[in-house]
């Protein structure tokens, strides 16, 4: 064989082509979830990926599932939250996927929109008490009327109120939490108690935490910062009165010193430390942030309210996880059997032990209410739960260089509310265009 320059280049081109095809594998085979035998008599191993933040929740389920039967073995792999989307996408492209993912519901649409998850509409409809499941979770997993995720656990934002401080300041908690104006008045009264006591607290540089706790004020006014159906969404920021009122409320809190000065630089790493120290009157946050850290005395004094809108209404961030089955899953029957086990009421009632809230209204029995009173308010008002369904949520709200945090900081700390909203509108539109291209 004669080795020539042309031959060498030809071989290189062939190698390149081979590499190209290897890197571009197609879609995984769809799971037939509509067949009568689906989810019955499963056997063998089920691979489950969960995000690290909710590992405790799913691991408890796995332990109890193993104690109840020995046909199916569930193996859980925890993936760091910030790497979950990338790792799962890479696994799908590589054709080696887990059977089930315990997935952040806010990111579900990224995979649903591109056909990566199995259609679970039929099996969910056959579950006992399916109409008790969280509508917010289901909405985030629904595309074109079909459901691609089973609600598993809730991580909701609510308003924690220190009634000990409120009583000292002469504030009635029910009256104070009707609207943002009432809250501002109450925060002023609480802030007047002492120099080291503040009416409110927020992590002013924590993009995700602010998205989690501030947006419900806006949703409570029946509007959102993103409008339109997935694939054709646009920003709804500039000129939105609820956004303006909410930002003005937060700016006033800052300007009048009703939030600690550390809020300016707090990226969420110290989130809640001032509330659990008993130094803050109102604190919007997650169940686990307070319940796992606060003293029994403070928990005694704590009352939870849903987050009010500028002029009334109530909402909460319906975050948490859905269990989603991957197309191409090796053991779908056993995987569904485990998923159905996880959402059974008796299993759901155990979730607060790990710091999570159930996703079904019928979990709140009398016994549950007595044991976990702070987990009940959202269960009693599941319809008030909401989270935006979008392909760009992570980009807009969770990134430090995203438009949400930029708008918040400019409006709240610099007081330029209108300019911040105008600027955010442009960035929202640009990022949505890119995500939906």
């Amino acid at each position: 064989m004669t080795l020539t320059r042309r031959g060498l280049l030809g071989s290189a081109a062939a190698g390149a082509l081979a590499g190209l095809f290897a890197g571009c594998s197609g879609k995984l085979p769809e799971i037939d979830t509509g067949r009568a035998s689906f989810g019955r008599d499963g056997r063998g191993r089920v691979e489950v990926w969960c995000r690290a933040a909710t590992q405790t929740g799913i691991q408890g389920m796995v332990d109890r599932f193993h104690a109840q039967q020995d046909r199916i073995e569930v193996r859980v792999t925890a993936v760091p939250d910030e790497q979950f989307v990338t790792k799962l996408a890479t696994a799908i492209r590589g054709g080696r996927v887990p059977d089930l993912v315990d997935f952040d519901d806010i990111n579900s649409m990224l995979f649903i929109y591109r056909g990566a998850f199995a259609d679970l509409t039929d099996p969910i409809s056959t579950l006992p008490g399916a109409d008790e499941l969280s509508p917010g979770h289901l909405r985030l997993a629904t595309n074109n009327g079909r459901i691609y995720g089973l609600p598993f656990l809730a991580d909701n934002s609510v308003l924690f109120c220190n009634t000990g401080l409120l009583e000292r300041a002469g504030v009635d908690v029910d009256t104070a939490t009707r609207s943002l104006e009432d809250l501002l008045d109450a925060a002023r009264q609480v802030g007047g108690l002492a120099d080291d006591i503040h009416g409110w607290s927020y992590p002013g540089n924590g993009a995700g935490a602010l998205g989690f706790t501030v947006q419900p004020h806006i949703w409570a006014a029946d509007t959102d910062l993103i409008a339109g159906r997935v694939g054709r969404q646009r920003g709804n920021v500039a000129g939105n009165p609820a956004v303006r009122d909410t930002l003005r409320f937060l700016h006033t809190l800052w300007r009048e010193g009703l939030v600690p000065s550390s809020a300016f630089a707090d990226d969420g790493s110290r989130w809640g430390s001032d509330y659990v120290a008993g130094k803050v009157g109102f604190f919007p946050s997650a169940y686990d942030t307070v319940v796992s850290e606060a003293s029994p005395e403070l928990l005694e004094q704590t009352v939870i309210k849903l987050l009010p809108g500028p002029r009334g209404g109530r909402a909460f961030f319906d975050g948490g996880d859905n269990l989603c089955m991957l197309n191409g899953a090796a053991n779908p029957d056993a995987a569904w059997e485990f998923a159905a086990f996880c959402v059974a009421p008796e299993q759901q009632r155990r979730l607060p032990e790990g710091g999570y809230i159930p996703i079904r209204a019928d979990a709140a029995t009398d016994d549950f209410r007595q044991k976990h009173p702070l987990a009940v308010p959202t269960l009693d008002d599941l319809d008030a739960g909401y989270a935006p369904t979008s392909l760009a949520y992570n980009l807009i709200y969770n990134q430090s260089d995203g438009p949400w945090l930029a708008m918040f900081r400019r409006a709240v700390f610099d007081g330029e509310v209108e300019a911040a909203m105008e600027e955010a509108q442009i960035s929202y539109d640009r990022l949505l265009d890119q995500a939906q291209a």
Partner: protein, 309 residues
Amino acid sequence: MTATLQTETVRTPATQTRRPRSLTHPPRTGLLLVLPAVAFVVVFVGVPLLVAIYISLTNFPLIGDYRFIGLQNYLLIFTDPAFGRSILYTLLYTAVVTGPILVLGYLLAVMVRSNRRGAKLLRTVFFLPYVVGLTTLSFLMVLEAQPDSGAVNIVLAWLGITDGSTAWLVDGVLGTILICALVVWGVSGLTMMLLMSGMQQIPSEVYESAELDGAGWWRTERNVTIPMIRRTIALSVIISVIGSMLAFTQFFILTQGGPGSDTTTVVMAIYKRAFVQLQLGAATAMSLVLVVIIGLITAAQFWLLRERE
């Protein structure tokens, strides 16, 4: 006879241009000898580059199917203000840090180039930040830049420059200043080592002659040392500029590109497009544009820093 003459007439030019065949180094042997290196470059550079070019011409998402979209990604890049801003910011950052890294590296090299007592210890001390690495230094800086509690603020307050409550990492300008200072401190050790090795190649007789001619320290450096280590200086600057154009770690750890996109470097913009927006096609196109930009800058540097007769 006529035919023979015609043949010779035709052959003559060809035989004149062809090089004589070497009996000891046949061309095929040469080709075989370079084959492993060529194969290595083809497999690990050529093929990935071809694949990258192809991907940049598609809408390749991290999830789902893809399709060929021609030059659309490139057209979008040039109309995307965020990408343009990230390039400008990276160029600004590069311009700000390159000079101080070179000057500080040079001064440190002057301090440690001799074999005086303690020179080795100083070399180690000055090179230590580079060995520790920007990742570790950045994590340390996250703690030390905290308002009220970080060492940076405590020292500045002690010196009476600030009140100690400066939030360095939530302001674009302050964050950039802090990162530039961190990088100059962390990377100058490498420049020092490169320049020092160049300085140590200069024969001592040259310095002795300069001294006999009455040249002082500054004149000796300007007229002897700098001209004689010109190539090493060029190498240091090129390495420094390429490193700055590819800056990522320190920004990712310290500011995550924020606030807003005030401290978003071009590599961070590419990373976010690929792994946050999950658009590998667009991100690959951005990467290839960056490769071209760095190539042009490096070529310009080679031209500017070339040896002049």
